[in-house]
Amino acid sequence: MELSPDQITIVELGPVTLNATLVFTWLVMGILAGGSWLITRNLSTGTEISRWQNLLEAIVTTIRDQIRAITGQDPSDYLPFIGTLFLFISLANLLSVVPGYEPPTGSLSTTAALTACVFVAVPLYGVAKRGFFGYLKNYIEPTPFMLPFNLVSEISRTVALAIRLFGNIMSGRILVGIMLSIIPLLLPTVLQVLELIVGQIQAYIFATLATVYIASGTSETAA
């Protein structure tokens, strides 16, 4: 049993090896982008809207409300980044009920890639919002002596973010796999349901923490 979907090779095209992580990532991307495209082709601006549009609007509105609640700022700038993080992780975890599917979030490469994006996005948003020096001031507050601690904190929280998501999803997979070998009836199903919930919670936690980090980078008062 492989610990990571990276190790499952689907197709090999010369030097390039397409593992399960990439393939299922594309699947998730395809579902998200294709679904969105299908639904948003015919958007109604009137009072009568389709149920799919209603679903998307509910999702987008909820995400925007969450971002606004956390950052206290206009969510428009953060919505694509944070929203995509949440939707990707959420759908990737949700699809784990499909037999044969390996959640890409169970790969440390994926979670590290997402975290790397957050790690880059935080200073980008911060600089865009407060200016280069305004953002850098964050690291020497309250005193310049805090600079090393702030840097360590920046890196450690990023690593923690990646490990947390990876660990949760991977552990869930392994737990279900072990349970299947020990008690093949009933209990794995319950655990899988639990795993689904954990997957959604992790998606929420990941997105929320990313928002918090960005908010701390863009906020004037944040330490």
Binding site: L3, S4, D6, V16, T17, N19, T21, L22, T25, W26, M29, L32, A33, S36, W37, T40, L43, S44, T45, G46, T47, Q53, L56, E57, V60, T61, R64, S76, L79, P80, F81, G83, T84, L87, F88, P104, S107, L108, S109, T110, A112, A113, L114, A116, C117
Partner: protein, 262 residues
């Protein structure tokens, strides 16, 4: 448990692509649609608010117009009522005037009829009285009475004043006619001649004639002048007095009738 760096890089690219795709196909259209709808709703609410205000203004306008109309109607009604009262009063006055005219016309007609009747009555009464008296005196008249009449005639002639005599003679161109109700006897004729000539002169010529209209008595007639004594004169005087009296009565009575009518 290690990071596959190729996968790591590919996942970063994948994620960025996904961000771009979702931004294009999900967030932008959905947010735009929601904003557009919000704007529509806001504009509709604004529109509704404006319409409500307009409606309120129109309601107020309508109410004020209605009040105005009510007021105008009341005024018109009051004016019409006044006019009707006035007209009714005029009609009543006119009717009263007409009634008064008709009554006075009627009274005049009644008065005329009464006068006509009285006039006829008067004429009839006087002529009846005259006829009765004449008839009675005619029945009584005889020769003895004739004697007395001659005596009376003589007395009348003798008591004539000068003015009457002059008037008599001025009209007597040819002869003085002596009219009597009955034929006079010779003695009576002579006596009459004596009396007349004594008064008017001896040369006076006399013509004797019988005139039953005198009833009884004698009369000297010259042209338009007549002197003497006879019942006809009395009756004529009586007739005149009677007519005068009746005319006097007729004049006083209409005033009493009109006074009672008022």
């Amino acid at each position: 448990m290690q990071i596959d760096w190729f996968t790591f890089g590919a996942q970063i690219v994948n994620f960025l692509i996904l961000v771009a795709l979702l931004r294009m196909f999900l967030y932008k259209p959905i947010v735009n649609a929601m904003n557009e709808r919000e704007q529509k709703i806001a504009s509709r609410l604004e529109d509704a608010q404006r319409k409500q205000e307009e409606a309120a203004a129109e309601v107020e306008d309508f109410r004020s117009k209605q009040r105005e109309l009510d007021q105008q109607r009341d005024e018109l009604l009051a004016a019409a009522r006044d006019q009707a009262d006035e007209q009714r009063q005029e009609l009543i006055e006119q009717a009263r005037g007409d009634v008064a005219d008709m009554r006075s016309d009627w009274q005049r007609a009644v008065q005329r009829e009464k006068e006509t009747f009285l006039r006829r009555l008067r004429t009839r009464v006087s002529s009846e009285v005259f006829a009765v008296a004449r008839r009675a005196l005619w029945d009584l008249a005889d020769t003895e009475l004739q004697e007395q009449l001659v005596d009376r005639f003589a007395h009348e002639i003798k008591t004539l004043d000068d003015e009457q005599c002059t008037a008599m003679l001025r009209d007597a161109d040819q002869a003085i006619e002596v009219h009597s109700a009955f034929g006079l006897s010779d003695a009576q004729r002579e006596r009459v001649e004596g009396i007349v000539r004594e008064q008017f002169g001896q040369s006076t010529r006399l013509d004797f004639a019988t005139d039953s209209d005198l009833i009884c008595g004698l009369a000297l007639v010259t042209g338009s002048c007549q002197i003497g004594w006879n019942i006809h004169d009395y009756l004529h005087t009586l007739h005149e007095h009677l007519e005068a009296f009746l005319a006097e009565q007729a004049l006083s009575e209409p005033e009493e009738v009109v006074g009672r009518a008022r």
